[in-house]
């Protein structure tokens, strides 16, 4: 795992009217790692996530991707540079089949539809969705929809994949499959940043974790370090998902 | 143009605009409630006009007194239209927007055909009503009493709507269903019942407008189309789902239309309204008061 920084969030501040969702947040993502973006409800994880993804701009601060300032770039342009993302509530293209969903993303890397289709078939294999290739996306089960979200984003050939709470509501066995998928994604050379609530899944999976609370960075480090950090324990005190 | 003539134009435009607002608010209400645009709205207006005409013909009772009855009849028609047609349209798995456009559009054509079958395409009018042909003269300004009546009714209705929405259980149920269709079921509000009543209310409102218009407007099977486009533009201008928006937009549309007719050939009077609509939504894509 190389140590260079693929993405930097520099002094990100984001206000929504009177509410400060992110305050002077600094995060560095190392190439090839799986980074967890954690924190209790209202910590500002989703806001930061969306700023990195290009859904809306920060009020202050910059996002640097591979040395390039992308703060003002639109989501499609970020995608073409190599940032892919999933949505917390899967936004599948319901009138299209599973494979067609994936092909949409493929045009970032392939000029023609047949090349995109071939790549999509491979991606579906990778995400264990081959059997559902011709199913309309609206008919998938929730865990399948999650995998489709990931497969679709992967089709764009990202260097950095942003996962938005992909583990929420999964059964333990589904979560294990999901975990395995994330690891295989990283093994392909893709850096992963995941926003997550489900501690039991995330802690064994990530290489490092950034914990946010009330819009600020609370703690950064390996899972073991973060779990032992008294600030983190205090932030989660009273929450059901106690860092164990 | 003299100041008097200008005031005349503005007053006429204002009164007509209030009627446009009345026509539009039913449409806006239905949309705000359930995201459905009723493409048969103009035909509801036409039915109300014919109903008023037919009842007047049969009973010789003045249209003003017939208005409550026509309104009630239209309420029933609206509720039936929901139960019979729209409820099924909303079962579509995809393209719901388009299904309801074309389902209600088919209904519109059907109603037109029925009207033509029953009444022939001939133009009808109500002659000999109390207000018909009477004008109020203030200085050099002549305001036709039917239009004044229409404006007053419209203002009264909007006042009543405000009270209905904010003070009654039904109004609150309407508002709640607008906010979150799924959640209301959890608190025991029957969604279908609210929708049917909503459609009834929407139809009743445009029905009242029809009862008003019948006094001074020619009645024929295509009259709905004339007002329908103005109604849609008014609703969109004010913002779909906004009752207040329908009122404001209606008045603006009436004024713009009247003023355009002065500076441009009368045949082009609608172009001013269209240009206004495009200008507004260019800056505010959901109309003046709509939520996106």
């Amino acid at each position: 795992m190389s140590g260079d920084i693929i993405l930097k969030a520099e002094n990100i501040t984001r206000r929504f009217g009177g509410l400060v969702a992110n305050s002077e947040v600094n995060v560095e993502v190392k190439r090839g790692e799986i980074l967890g973006l954690l924190g209790p409800n209202g910590a500002g994880k989703s806001t930061l996530f969306n700023i990195i993804a290009g859904a809306f701009p920060p009020s202050e601060g910059r996002i640097i991707f591979e040395g390039q300032d992308i703060t003002r770039l639109s989501a499609p342009k970020r995608c073409r540079l190599g940032i892919g993302r999933t949505f917390q509530v899967p936004k599948s293209f319901d009138t299209m089949t599973v494979i067609e969903n994936v092909i949409v993303g493929g045009f970032v890397r392939h000029a023609g539809a047949s090349a995109a289709r071939r790549a999509a078939l491979e991606t579906l294999e990778f995400a264990a969705l081959s059997g559902r290739a011709d199913t309309p996306a609206g008919e998938l089960t929730p865990p399948e929809k999650r995998r489709l979200e990931v497969a679709r984003a992967l089709a764009t050939g990202p260097k950095l994949l942003l996962l938005d709470e992909v583990f929420a509501g999964l059964t333990p066995s589904e979560a294990r499959l999901g975990s395995d998928l994330v690891k295989r994604v990283r093994d392909q050379g893709v850096t992963v940043v995941m926003v997550e609530h489900v501690m039991e899944i995330v802690m064994p999976l990530v290489d490092r974790a950034v914990v946010l609370d009330l819009g600020r960075v609370l703690s950064v480090g390996t899972p073991a370090e973060v779990v032992a950090d008294p600030k983190v324990i205090t932030a989660y005190l009273g929450e059901r998902h106690r860092a164990a | 143009m003299s100041a008097e003539a200008l005031i005349q134009v503005i007053a006429s435009g204002l009164l007509m605009g209030l009627v446009y607002a009345l026509i539009a608010v039913g449409l806006s209400l239905i949309f705000g409630l359930m995201d459905v645009v009723n493409f048969a709205h103009g035909e509801f207006l036409m039915v109300a006009m014919y109903a008023t005409f037919g009842l007047w013909l049969a009973t010789a009772i003045d249209p003003i007194l017939l208005a409550p009855l026509v309104t009630a009849l239209m309420f029933v028609l609206g509720a039936l239209a929901y139960m019979g047609v729209v409820r099924h349209a909303m079962r579509a798995k995809a393209n719901i927007g388009m299904v309801q456009i074309f389902a209600t559009f088919g209904l519109a054509i059907l109603i037109q055909g029925v009207a033509q079958y029953l009444f022939t395409p001939d133009y009808r009018s109500i002659t000999g009503s109390w207000l018909g042909g009477q004008t109020l003269q203030i200085g050099g300004i002549y305001l036709p009493w039917p239009q004044i009546y229409g404006g007053l009714i419209s203002v009264a209705v909007f006042g009543g709507l405000y009270l209905l929405m904010s003070r009654t259980d039904f109004g609150r149920a309407l508002e709640a269903t607008r906010e979150d269709q799924g959640a209301v079921a959890l608190v025991g509000i029957d969604r279908n019942r609210v929708f049917a009543l909503g459609w009834g209310l929407g139809a009743a409102l445009v029905g009242l407008a029809g009862a008003v218009l019948a006094i001074f407007y020619y009645i024929h099977p295509q009259v709905g189309g004339t007002f329908a486009l103005i109604a849609y533009v008014t609703v969109a201008l004010g913002g779909f789902g906004s009752v207040f928006g329908a009122l404001v937009a209606g008045v603006i549309v009436g004024l713009v239309e009247a003023l355009t007719a002065v500076i441009a050939p009368p045949a082009l009077k609608s172009v001013g309204v269209y240009a206004l609509y495009l200008a507004v939504v260019f800056v505010r894509p959901s109309g003046l008061f709509g939520r996106l």
Binding site: - | G113, Q116, F240, P285
Partner: protein, 340 residues
């Protein structure tokens, strides 16, 4: 991802199944086109041939409308504008300047495409009903302007001078068959355009924009450009059909080419047949147009309104019973997932 070098057999199987499906679509299309081409020699009745011309033309226009409305999800209810621009461009160029209608046709198409781009720029920031209503008022404005513009004949319209029968000027006094073939040709062109686009970047991007613009953007789709491309292509072909219509009827005025009912007639076949599908508009047109024409001739002449009743009831029935369109009768019904 794995390289192209070694693909699992399931992937290869998926590829070849798809190629076969595409090829069979072409074969079916060829068979249908051939069948239609033979029809005029079997059906000699001039009235029915007239209906054929109109059916083919509306099928072609609806197919074009489908590109913007069915695939890209932008419901235009003002396509009569482009139809009229095509009709008027050709007519004015031919009647006033003697320019050949085929050239006029292309000119009308290009003009409409440019118009669509110009209008798209402000309009595509609008969503849903706001967009549809904008298209209606723009078309109505066009209609009113045509009424009041003497250069294009105002309310009187434009009459094509009587010329001897010729493909060069696209005029045939009594023979309908050449028009049938032109209509068929136009439909084939629009069908092929849809067929090619379906399996192209635009085809996928448009459907993504229709289903979920936000997700589309996260996958690299430039939403605005996609809508513009769809609008331009759709307007181009619609205008060509309008030019054809002008040659066919030899006389146009604002009401006969730009009225709102045309905008609806362009959209209805696609909606009823199956929006966003390859054959939906054709199937819809094949049912709707003959029904419209025949009910109007037999039931509507007296102003009884029966034609409207039948027409309206038909639209309602199809919209309610088969909201996905008639073609969905031939597709497998979705399985019910226990998880949902």
């Amino acid at each position: 991802m794995t390289t192209d070098a070694v693909l699992p057999s399931s992937v290869l199987a998926g590829q070849s199944a798809f190629v076969w499906k595409r090829r069979s679509q072409l074969l079916i299309a060829a068979a249908v086109f051939l069948g239609v081409a033979v029809l005029p020699h079997v059906i000699k009745d001039v009235y029915l041939q007239n209906v054929m011309v109109l059916t083919l033309m509306f099928a072609a226009v609806s197919q074009s409308w489908n590109i913007l409305g069915g695939y890209c999800g932008q419901i235009s209810l003002g396509h009569a504008l482009y139809f009229g621009v095509g009709a008027y461009t050709t007519s004015v160029l031919f009647v006033t300047y003697g320019i050949n209608p085929w050239i006029g046709m292309v000119a009308g198409g290009v003009l409409s495409a440019l118009l669509a781009l110009g209008l798209g720029w402000p309009c595509f920031r609008l969503k849903g009903h706001y967009f549809s209503i904008a298209t209606i008022v723009i078309a109505e404005t066009g209609l009113l302007l045509a009424h009041n513009w003497d250069f294009v004949g105002g309310a009187t319209g434009i009459q094509w001078p009587f010329n001897p029968d010729s493909w060069w000027t696209l005029q045939f006094a009594r023979d309908k068959v050449p028009y049938i073939y032109f209509g068929l040709g136009l439909f084939i062109v629009t069908w092929l355009a849809t067929y090619v686009i379906e399996e192209s970047r635009w085809g996928y991007w448009w459907r993504a924009v229709k289903d979920n613009p936000e997700a589309a953007q996260s996958l690299g789709v430039t939403v605005f450009e996609s809508k513009m491309a769809a609008a331009a292509i759709s307007a181009f072909f619609t205008a060509i059909a309008g030019a054809f219509y002008a040659a066919f009827v030899s006389y146009i005025d604002p009401e006969s080419v730009m009225a709102f009912r045309f905008s609806l007639l362009f959209a209805l076949p696609a909606v009823l047949g199956g929006i966003g599908t390859l054959w939906g508009p054709a199937v819809g047109a094949a049912i709707l147009i003959p029904v419209t024409e025949i009910t109007r001739s037999y039931a509507g002449g007296s102003g009884s309104g029966l034609d409207l009743i039948i027409y309206g009831a038909l639209i309602m029935l199809i919209a309610l019973l088969k909201p996905e369109g008639i073609l969905s009768l031939f597709r497998r019904s979705p399985k019910r997932e226990s998880a949902e």
